[in-house]
């Protein structure tokens, strides 16, 4: 998970982000937001560097990262999969869909495949309840999905 190695250029990027918020510890959430949009996720080394820049304890940074579900410490795959588990999708079998993805990819929800190709997450309602159950892969939407279709869909991604 924390195989991420901090390079000098990364340090500079983080320094710039923190400076843009005046190194103010009160702006920690904004700093983390910006950083995640830059790096895709928030590995340990990055959190330590942010704590260093803002002069706060790394435990505090980690506390905020783990509190907000938006922040993630695992990188997203090349094709991030989001299964809607909102009410409508749930009653129309979203759970079976999630299980099928887990079986096919051999990862947990929140995980990423070893080759970094797919990551799997759940989200709550994409506003397309008429198409329930709904799955997003990258920007593409799959509606009225059934478990047996999943293998084929995954194979269509290179």
């Amino acid at each position: 998970m924390s195989t991420f190695k901090l390079q000098d250029c990364h340090k500079q990027t983080l320094k710039d982000i923190c400076t843009s918020f005046n190194n103010n510890p009160g702006e920690l959430i904004s700093v983390l937001h910006k950083t995640q949009s830059e790096f895709g996720y928030l590995p340990e080394a990055i959190q330590r560097e942010i704590a260093n820049n803002l002069k706060i304890s790394v435990a505090k940074v980690y506390g905020v990262v783990t509190f907000y579900s938006f922040f993630t410490m695992t990188p997203k795959g090349k094709y991030p999969i989001s299964v809607c588990t909102g009410t409508a999708c749930y009653v129309r079998g979203a759970e079976k869909i999630v299980d099928e993805f887990k079986d096919q990819l051999k990862i947990k929800v929140g995980g990423v495949t070893e080759d970094g190709k797919f990551s799997l997450d759940c989200l709550r309602c994409v506003g397309a309840c008429g198409l329930a159950p709904v799955v997003l892969i990258g920007e593409k939407v799959y509606g009225r999905l059934e478990a047996h279709q999943i293998k084929g869909i995954l194979e269509s991604y290179e």
Binding site: S2, S57, V58, K60, T66
Partner: protein, 587 residues
């Protein structure tokens, strides 16, 4: 500003604007139960996240119940603290907490000292209606040489977080995760030994449950005492005698030196010695180092490192190794009294009585949890055999005495054994903030000037203010001294030095409030500063009552140098009584 009037349970009370309902109630003797709330008066630190909701009360005109610890009074407020609605709500809150708490109270090391258990008793909880799977462990246990974390028992009061961050500025702990999984932990949920934790243990001292507990070596000591092939000797730190009595219902500040010695002898220790002896030895070495640096400085040596920092407090040593690695050459290299004792015991004393190092077991009774960590450091071992085998706290000694069926009140006073039980008043005052530096001054003054001191008490170095400064004249030479207790104050002082704002020759630092008397291994004082004050006065009383009050006049210390060490800072001293520090910067 100005005062406002509120009515609590039909009692009129006038309070300062900005007071909470809890404070107002306290003023008229109404004791609202609290759990997460903590008030450490002497540190001006309050923890009131308003999270546990045990302290809820009814406020007229307000729809929901209000947490009294974090709700401000307003003029004309009418409060009910014991209506049926309030009592039912408190019971429900307790049941909810208990539904997610392991039910094995009987075998919990905090049993009998647990705030949650006490509340469950007070509210007569006999059944928990909401049953979560509280028996199933959700968190990995974390064991360190000083303290254990069992987060299944954490109720998220966050007192430890407040102490670790706001008081000690260590920053090892923070609330992490959310919902049922939320818990107080180091970053990345690492073990404490991999975090910046200093093992000061102040988090343990405020934990209301058994989530944070000391690592306890008592069973190993019992085993050693029962082993006929082992010679088991014990040393007692200065602060222990001023607090141990509290565990047996005595008033804070009762000195129980003689009873403590008698209890230890009756527990079966072969010899009962005193860490104060080693404190005198520390003064010989640290004082010599101080004088060496000052003399070189006075003679114009630009290389000399000043100020010299004391190094007796193991939590403080851990703190500067993590946070001030650029200043590792500033502290004195003298080992702490605990470790000097162990080192001398396993060389000089072992030879004296003709016992092999491996067959001599050295136990220490300390007011401290960081001492447990310190005695396990690799640099204090010879071929894997530690100089001090086991360190237990004042509270753990009290438990051992109770378990052994010793009637502490009725014990006759006894004397320490010789040679390592003889000590001076200077050794005793190591237990309070300012004491180490006063002890050093008593000796350094006489050595530096060649004159006898007219007075022995240095009032200007005493007191309980967090940071203190004073100038003492060694003849014509002014010596500037800084003193800090609690690591947050230490950090302020050190930052000042880094930035060149201070110009001290010597600095004493203690990690705990009031010094060792407020250590995390002492009977719990719950933020009551009068307890600290009473222990503080007891220590100076013990000092005043001593026949000899300057370390260099201790006849057994003089003999130790004549027979074994040579002189302070000799090669042998360096080998046995000094140490070196490591860069443990962790960010």
């Amino acid at each position: 500003m100005g005062n406002i009037k509120v009515k609590i349970d039909n009692i009129e009370v006038e309070v300062k604007r900005g007071s909470t309902i809890y404070q107002a109630a306290k003023q008229v003797g109404i004791d609202i139960p609290v759990l997460c709330y903590m008030n450490l008066n002497h540190m001006q630190i309050e923890n009131r996240p308003g999270g546990c909701r045990i302290c809820v009360v009814e406020v007229e005109g307000r729809r929901n119940l209000a947490p009294s610890c974090s709700t401000d009074c307003f003029d004309g407020m009418v409060v009910k603290t014991k209506s049926i609605r309030v009592l039912n709500a408190r019971k429900t809150v307790l049941e909810l907490i208990l539904s997610d708490h392991p039910p094995k109270c009987l075998v919990c090391s905090s049993s009998g000292k647990c705030d949650l258990q006490e509340l469950a008793q007070r509210f007569g909880i006999r059944e928990v209606h909401m049953v979560e799977n509280a028996e199933v462990s959700t968190y990995r246990k974390d064991a360190s040489p000083a303290l254990n974390r069992d987060m299944d028992k954490c109720i998220m009061c966050r007192r430890c977080e407040t102490v670790c961050n706001d008081v000690q500025t260590v920053g090892a702990l923070s609330a992490v995760n959310r919902g049922f999984m939320s818990v107080v932990a180091p970053a990345f949920e690492q073990d404490l030994v991999d975090s910046p934790c200093t093992f000061c243990g102040q988090c343990v001292a405020v934990c209301p449950t058994g989530a944070l507990t000391p690592y306890d070596d008592t069973p190993m000591i019992i085993r050693a005492l029962a082993d006929p092939t082992k010679t088991v000797i014990v040393q007692t730190a200065p602060a222990v005698r001023a607090a141990l009595g509290e565990e047996f219902g005595m008033n804070p500040g009762t000195l129980v030196t003689g009873k403590m010695v008698s209890a230890l002898r009756s527990l079966g220790f072969d010899k009962v010695f005193d860490t104060d002896f080693a404190a005198d030895l520390t003064i010989m070495e640290e004082g010599a180092e101080l004088l060496d640096r000052i003399t070189r400085y006075v003679n114009g040596d630009k290389e000399v490192k000043l100020p010299i920092l004391t190094s007796c407090c193991p939590a403080w040593v851990n703190f500067f190794e993590v946070y001030f690695p650029d200043m590792l050459d500033v502290p004195s290299t003298a080992r702490s009294p605990q470790q000097m004792f162990g080192s001398i015991a396993k060389t000089y004393y072992a030879d004296l009585i003709g016992v092999k190092r491996e067959d001599l077991v050295v136990v220490s009774i300390m007011p401290c949890l960081a001492k447990k960590f310190e005695c396990q450091r690799d640099e204090f071992k010879v071929n894997g055999n530690p100089d001090v085998d086991y360190s237990i706290s004042t509270r753990e000694l009290a438990s051992l005495i109770k378990a052994a069926n010793i009637n502490f009140d009725k014990l006759e006073d006894e004397e320490f054994d010789l040679p390592m039980g003889e000590s001076t008043g200077a050794g005793v005052i190591f237990g309070v903030t300012g004491g180490v530096i006063e002890a050093a001054v008593r000796t350094a003054y006489e050595v530096f000037t060649g004159n006898k001191l007219n007075r022995i008490n240095f009032e200007e170095l005493r007191g309980l203010a967090g940071i203190r400064t004073a100038t003492i004249y060694f003849g014509e030479t002014p010596i500037h001294i800084g003193i800090a207790h609690q690591l947050g104050n230490a950090r302020k002082l050190l930052n000042g030095i880094r930035e060149g704002r201070y110009n001290f020759h010597a600095i004493e630092i203690m990690a705990c409030p009031g010094g060792c008397i407020g250590g995390a291994g002492q009977p719990l004082h719950h933020g009551d500063s009068s307890v600290i004050k009473a222990r503080y006065e007891a220590i100076y009383k013990e000092d005043t009552g001593k026949a000899i009050r300057k370390s260099h006049e201790n006849p057994y210390i003089i003999k130790l140098y004549e027979d074994f060490l040579g002189k302070p800072l000799s090669e042998k001293s360096h080998h046995l009584l000094h140490t070196h520090y490591f860069d443990k910067h962790k960010i």
